[in-house]
Homo-oligomer: 331 residues x 2
C-alpha cells in the first residue's frame, strides 16, 4: 500500500500538494489537481488513518458505555447513537459494561489514551470520579442528577405518575410496583412518581406492594409470584420494564389469572414485543433512538469547542394504552 510520498513522486509534486489536493482541493490549480488525482488512483492510495489522527489530534471515535447491549431498549438507543455518529463522520466504540465498573473504567481509559474524543455514558456512574482533567462526557438514559455532565433523560417521575394515574382512573387501589435495582436513579424517580399519584389519590403507601427487579423477563416472573402470594392480592401490576411485564404475564397465566379481567398489567419502554403479547401491553413509550441521537449531538457540540448551549434535554414520553389494563373488578 502506497503512501503520500509515492503519490507525490508519481504526480511530480510535493507531498504538501498531495495533502492539499485531498483536504482543500480548491486551493490547488486545476491542472495540478487532476495530475494528483490521477496519481492517487494509479497508486490506489488511501491516507493512513493512524497518521492522520496522530497529526490532527482527533480520533473521530466516540466511546459508548452500555449497561447491556442485548437489552431491547438499549439496542434502540445504540442504533440512534450509531446513526447520528456516522452522519457526523464519527465512529462508535461500544462497551458492554455488564454493570462492571472496572470494565467501564478500562474503556473510559481510551479517552485518556487519545483513542477516542469523548464518552456517552448510558448508566448512572462516573468512571472519571475525582479526576480533574476528565474528558467530555454526555450522560443519557439513566442520569446522575448531581453531576454536571450534560444529560439526555426522560421525566421518569412524570411518566410513572401518568401510568399510575391511568390505573387509578380505572378504579385500581391496590397497585403493585415491580421496580428496577434498588439504588438506580431510574427506580427512585419512577417510585417517586408512583407514590405521588397514590398520595394525590389519598391512598396510603403499602410497602408490601413494592418489589425490586432487574428489568429482565425472569425478574418479572419471579417478583409476580411473590406478589400473588400476598394475603390481599393487588388488582394492578406496574412493571418498570416491558420485559418484566412479559415475565409477569407468564406467572399470571401460571396462577390462572386473566389479564386484564382479574388483574391489570402495565410495562415501561414500549419495546417491539409489547404490542405482541397477549394481551398487548399498556406501557410508557420512550423515544429510544432519540436518546442516542441527542446524546451524540450534545457531545459533538462540546467537542467542537462551542459553549454548551444545553445542559439537559428532557425527552417526551407517551402513555400507550393497550389491552392489558382495564377497569378494576376485584374485591
Amino acid at each position: 500500500m502506497s503512501n503520500i510520498r509515492r503519490v507525490a513522486e508519481l504526480a511530480g509534486v510535493s507531498v504538501a500538494t498531495v495533502s492539499r489536493t485531498l483536504k482543500n482541493p480548491e486551493v490547488v490549480a486545476p491542472a495540478t489537481r487532476e495530475r494528483v488525482q490521477a496519481a492517487v488512483t494509479a497508486a490506489n492510495y488511501r491516507p493512513n488513518g493512524m497518521a492522520v489522527q496522530f497529526r490532527s489530534r482527533r480520533t473521530g471515535n466516540l466511546v459508548v458505555l452500555v449497561p447491556l447491549i442485548a437489552n431491547s431498549f438499549f439496542a434502540r438507543v445504540i442504533a440512534g447513537i450509531q446513526q447520528a455518529a456516522q452522519a457526523a463522520g464519527y465512529r462508535v466504540l461500544l462497551c458492554d459494561t455488564a454493570g462492571d465498573e472496572a470494565r467501564e473504567r478500562e474503556y473510559a481509559e481510551l479517552v485518556y489514551a487519545r483513542q477516542a474524543d469523548g464518552v456517552i455514558q448510558l448508566r448512572a456512574f462516573d468512571p472519571f470520579a475525582g479526576d480533574p482533567d476528565a474528558p467530555p462526557v454526555v450522560n443519557a438514559c439513566e442520569v446522575l442528577a448531581e453531576h454536571t455532565w450534560p444529560k439526555v433523560r426522560l421525566d421518569n417521575r412524570a411518566a410513572a405518575r401518568s401510568l399510575t394515574e391511568h390505573l387509578l382512573a380505572l378504579g385500581h387501589r391496590r397497585i403493585a410496583l415491580i421496580k428496577g435495582p434498588e439504588d438506580s436513579p431510574l427506580t427512585l424517580e419512577r417510585l417517586a412518581g408512583y407514590q405521588e399519584a397514590l398520595t394525590r389519590a389519598g391512598i396510603p403507601p403499602d410497602p408490601d406492594l413494592l418489589h425490586p427487579g432487574d428489568f429482565t423477563l425472569a425478574a418479572g416472573a419471579a417478583a409476580t409470584k411473590t406478589l400473588l402470594a400476598l394475603p390481599e392480592r393487588p388488582t394492578a401490576l406496574f412493571c418498570c420494564s416491558d420485559e418484566m411485564a412479559i415475565g409477569a404475564l407468564q406467572s399470571l397465566r401460571g396462577a390462572g389469572l386473566r389479564v386484564p379481567e382479574d388483574l391489570s398489567l402495565a410495562g415501561f419502554d414500549d419495546i417491539a414485543f409489547a404490542a405482541y403479547s397477549d394481551p398487548p401491553l399498556t406501557t410508557i413509550a420512550q423515544p429510544a433512538e432519540a436518546f442516542g441521537q441527542r446524546a451524540v449531538a450534545l457531545l459533538l457540540e462540546i467537542l467542537s469547542g462551542a459553549a454548551p448551549t444545553t445542559r439537559e434535554v428532557v425527552l417526551p414520553f407517551e402513555l400507550v394504552v393497550r389491552g392489558s389494563t382495564g377497569v378494576c373488578r376485584g374485591r
Copy 2:
C-alpha cells in the same frame, strides 16, 4: 497532559529508557525502572495511543458489521464478540449496516485507512469484492458459502430438517414455512432442510406453503394472515425466527386459533422471549455468544500471522421442544 519526553526529563533518563520501562521492564535496571515509574506517576503520564498505534502499525480495533443491532439474536452475538475482543485487548467498532451496502463499505474502509486491523462480517456480503489486497475478514452467522473467508456457522440445513422432522413426527403433513429474505443463504439452507425432511417423508412440496419474511414480528404476523387464508389451511407453521413466530402468534389469536390444539407453531433462535410466549415456543437454540467468540478467535489467529488452522467452525444447535407444538389433530 504530559508526554514521554517530560517523563524522561523528570526521571533523568532518555525517552528510549522510558519507552522500554513501559514495554519491556525486564531489560531495564531495577533502580532506573523505579525512577522512571515514579516519574510516570508524578507526571500522571499515559502513553498517547494514537502515537503508539501509528508507530507500531497496529490499531487494536476490530470492525464488526451487523445487519441489525436491535435484533435479539445479533445482540447476543455482539455481546460474545465484545467479550472475546476485550479479553484479548482489542476494541470493537460496531457498524449497524441496516442492510445498506454503501454504509457497510464505508466502515470496511476503516481497515484500508488503518483504523482497524480486521473485520467480522455477520452478513453474506463481501464489501471488498474484487479487491486484490482485501483485509482479514471472518464471516459469521450468515455465511457466504462460495467465499474463502474463514467461517463460523450453524448447520442451518440440519437444524431446519430436525425441526421439520419433529413436526412430521407429530403427524403434521401440511407444514408452512415463513422464510427469511428470498436471496439470503440462511433462507436457502433452512428451506433445503425443510424440503429434505418433507421429501424423506414422501410429502410433495407445496409452494403455497412457503412465504418470505424478514425476521421481524410484523413480518411474522403478516405472513401468517396470508397463510391462514389458504383454502386448505396448514396444520403447522415453522418460522425462521422466534420474532416472526411471536408475530405469528398474534395473528393466530386474532383468527381464534389455539396453539397447539388447532395449529402447531415453531420458531428459530431461542431468544429469551421464546420461553415466555403463550404457549412457550418450540424452537432451535443457537449458541449466539459462541458465534461471536469463535469469530474473534479466528480473526485474531489470522492477525497474529499464524497459518490459519481452521477454515470453518460449525456450531451445534439444539431442538428445544416447548408447548407450541403438539400432535396433529386437524383434518
